[in-house]
């Protein structure tokens, strides 16, 4: 017989393969193609120009400010979340005991509510004559602080939104440190700090790095926090891309911006995963 039915494995992979092809690969190809199209046109696949990229890297263009803001927000989110999440992850592993699952659920719970709804909740809380300001005034105080629509508020919103994405990989990372090793290090004379630096931190590093990468990638693509909590006081790169695709109807520019940011994240991801030798860290070889 000339025609042979593919194996069961191949056949099972067909639906998800089609989905990825249509839902992931095709749009990506379209975006890359658009980024080389004539600016302000829809001549995809029929025109080729580097003008869009030239425009982005032109020093006259202020789009670098958006990149900078997104990068700074993402970096600050990663650093602060690493500091906040570590003690919680440590607690979930070694202190909270049977309360651990309850604490985990409490941290996951906000994820069940749409991000936009939660952020608008913050706006209602902090806005002039809102929950905080209004209540304080009603009790005869000065009124709440004017923190809404500032970069600090955007950062606070990002920390709040992305905490679980740092916390859970980190918790898993710490869970991978065998208790025996901590006991052994202590028995061999190490103090608390030495155990942390020599044993706990390096062994939990895969989880910590994955958490950092996850929050960085989410942070650099974040848009809702800047739009809602920042009230457009700061334009982040994702917002620029949105504007290009909507108001200005300049799909080629939006695509070029998207390709640049995607390329940046891809390089970063590969660099981190290259450094992150999971097999060695897990002691498998």
């Amino acid at each position: 017989m000339a025609f042979r039915l593919p194996t069961a494995g191949t056949r099972s992979a067909i639906p998800v393969g089609l989905l990825l092809l249509l839902g992931f690969a095709a749009p990506l190809v379209a975006i890359v193609a658009y980024s080389f199209a004539t600016p302000r046109s829809f001549d995809v696949f029929t025109s080729f120009t580097l003008e869009n990229y030239a425009g982005i890297f032109d020093v006259e263009n202020t789009v670098w400010l958006s990149f900078l803001w997104s990068g700074l927000f993402a970096l600050a989110t990663v650093v602060l979340l690493a500091i906040f999440a570590y003690p919680i992850a440590y607690g979930l592993n070694r202190v909270f005991g049977r309360w651990s699952s309850l604490v985990s659920i409490l941290f996951v719970f906000p994820l069940f509510v749409s991000e936009n709804v939660r952020l608008y909740g913050w706006v209602l809380f902090f806005i002039k004559n809102g929950v905080l300001d209004g209540s304080l005034k009603a009790f005869g105080f000065e009124g709440g602080p004017d923190v809404l629509f500032t970069p600090g508020m955007i950062l606070a919103g990002m920390l709040y939104t992305y905490l679980p994405f740092m916390l859970f990989p980190m918790t898993l990372g710490l869970a991978m440190v065998p208790g025996d090793l901590i006991d052994a290090a202590r028995d061999l004379g190490a103090g608390r700090f030495q155990i942390w630096r020599e044993i706990e931190l390096p062994l939990a590093m895969p989880g910590i790095l994955i958490g950092m990468l996850l929050t960085f990638v989410l942070g650099i693509g974040a848009i809702a926090e800047a739009k809602i909590l920042g009230g457009q006081s700061v334009i982040v790169i994702a917002h620029d891309i949105e504007i290009a695709f909507t108001y200005s109807q300049n799909w080629p520019l939006g695509s070029a911006l998207a390709v640049v940011i995607t390329g940046f994240i891809a390089v970063l991801t590969l660099a981190v995963f290259g450094r992150l030798d999971l097999d060695r860290l897990l002691g498998r070889r």
Partner: protein, 360 residues
């Protein structure tokens, strides 16, 4: 004890040590003197509390009651990193992200010893535990089971402890290598002159290495003695059964004061138990002391049974003999007897001096 005077001073002393977890008593009122420089093994089945005992000695658990003293100083609450003791874990607990050398140097590094001194000491210790010098930079997870043992040992020695604890470190090692490592460990004990406290569930392992053996059962230390004492004078039936395959015959005092087997017809002449009030006792006879009696040959105690099966133990042959409802084991050197037929009726005998009479 008669040899009190020449007995070395205890380095570690346990008085009434007890450890409970909720209602569960893991270790129950243990008194023990560990002598300076001895190789002491604590043996017991799993769940007998030996690991808990060791963890208290190492400082990882605090006793619920009782005192542990080191050189006469109370160390109940002294944390492990402040004790001059070191534990070799069952899992070995090697640091997987460090090289062989960095593992061994760890206790020196945390003490702030400089790099060159550390490396020199590590190489010296690697010689002691018979690891090739080239292993210094090797990934510790790439070492074989036996090599990992040596790394763990060298790392413990680098701490320079006065007492070394071992929590069944050889349990995951194959038989042949285990035999080699047991002897090496005993040699190392001799070379270092340190006090070794070893924990295992295998009395065989304990016999090879130890100066003294303590047998634990259900949280209690049942007997402490030299391997000879444990073998020849087990304190009770549990210890005797722990030593190896034995024949245990329950005996009772009859109305006439003579001791005979319970539900086991035969002729008996048994040394009465030390406890003169006891009505029942157990007679323990090792398979090698149980004899197959020839026609007309006699013994202090005689039983009649049927051969059920024959097992080859290398230099010896073991026979399973059914006597009434009971099973007896007899061992004879290979080639000593004419081949025996399965199901043949035989007479078994043992002399009173070869039998050990114990309480429960």
């Amino acid at each position: 004890m008669s040899d009190d005077a020449k007995k070395p001073k205890p380095i570690l002393q346990l008085v009434g040590v007890r450890k409970t977890f909720g209602d569960f008593v893991a270790v129950d009122r243990i008194d023990l003197d560990v002598r300076q420089g001895e190789f002491l093994t604590i043996v017991g089945p799993s769940g007998s509390g030996k690991t808990t005992l060791l963890r208290m000695l190492a400082g990882m658990d605090v006793p619920s009651e009782g005192n542990i003293t080191l050189h006469g100083e109370l160390i109940n609450d002294v944390p492990p990193n402040k004790r001059p003791t070191c534990l070799v874990f069952q899992s070995l607990a090697l640091f997987p992200h460090k090289t062989v050398g960095d593992n061994i140097e760890f206790p020196l590094k945390v003490r702030g010893v400089d790099k060159e001194t550390r490396k020199a000491r590590a190489l010296e210790l690697m010689r002691v535990v018979r690891l090739p010098e080239s292993y210094h930079g090797k990934n510790v997870m790439k070492c074989s089971g036996g090599e990992k043992q040596r790394v763990a040992l060298a790392r413990a020695l680098a701490y320079d402890p006065e007492v070394l604890f071992f929590d069944e470190p050889l349990s995951a090692i194959d038989y042949k290598l285990k035999k080699v490592l047991e002897k090496e460990l005993k040699d190392l004990h001799r070379e270092t002159g340190k006090t070794f406290i070893y924990i295992t569930h295998s009395l065989e392992e304990a016999m090879v290495m130890s100066d003294r053996i303590g047998v634990m059962r259900a949280g209690r230390l049942v007997q402490v003695g030299t391997p000879e004492q444990i073998y020849a004078e087990p304190a009770d039936r549990f210890v005797s059964e722990f030593v190896g395959e034995v024949n245990v015959i329950e005996v009772a005092r009859g109305a006439d004061g003579a001791w005979t087997g319970v539900d086991l017809p035969g002729t008996y002449r048994i040394t009465p138990p030390k406890d003169t009030a006891a009505e029942r006792a157990f007679v323990v006879v090792r398979p090698e002391f149980m004899r197959l009696l020839a026609e007309g040959e006699g013994a202090d105690n005689c039983l009649e049974g049927k051969i059920y099966n024959e097992y080859s133990l290398g230099s010896r042959l073991q026979y399973q003999v059914h006597v009434g409802q009971k099973v007896m084991l007899v061992e004879v050197p290979r080639g000593r007897l004419a081949p025996l037929q399965i199901d043949a009726t035989v007479r078994l005998g043992f002399d009173a001096r070869d039998a050990i009479v114990v309480g429960n």
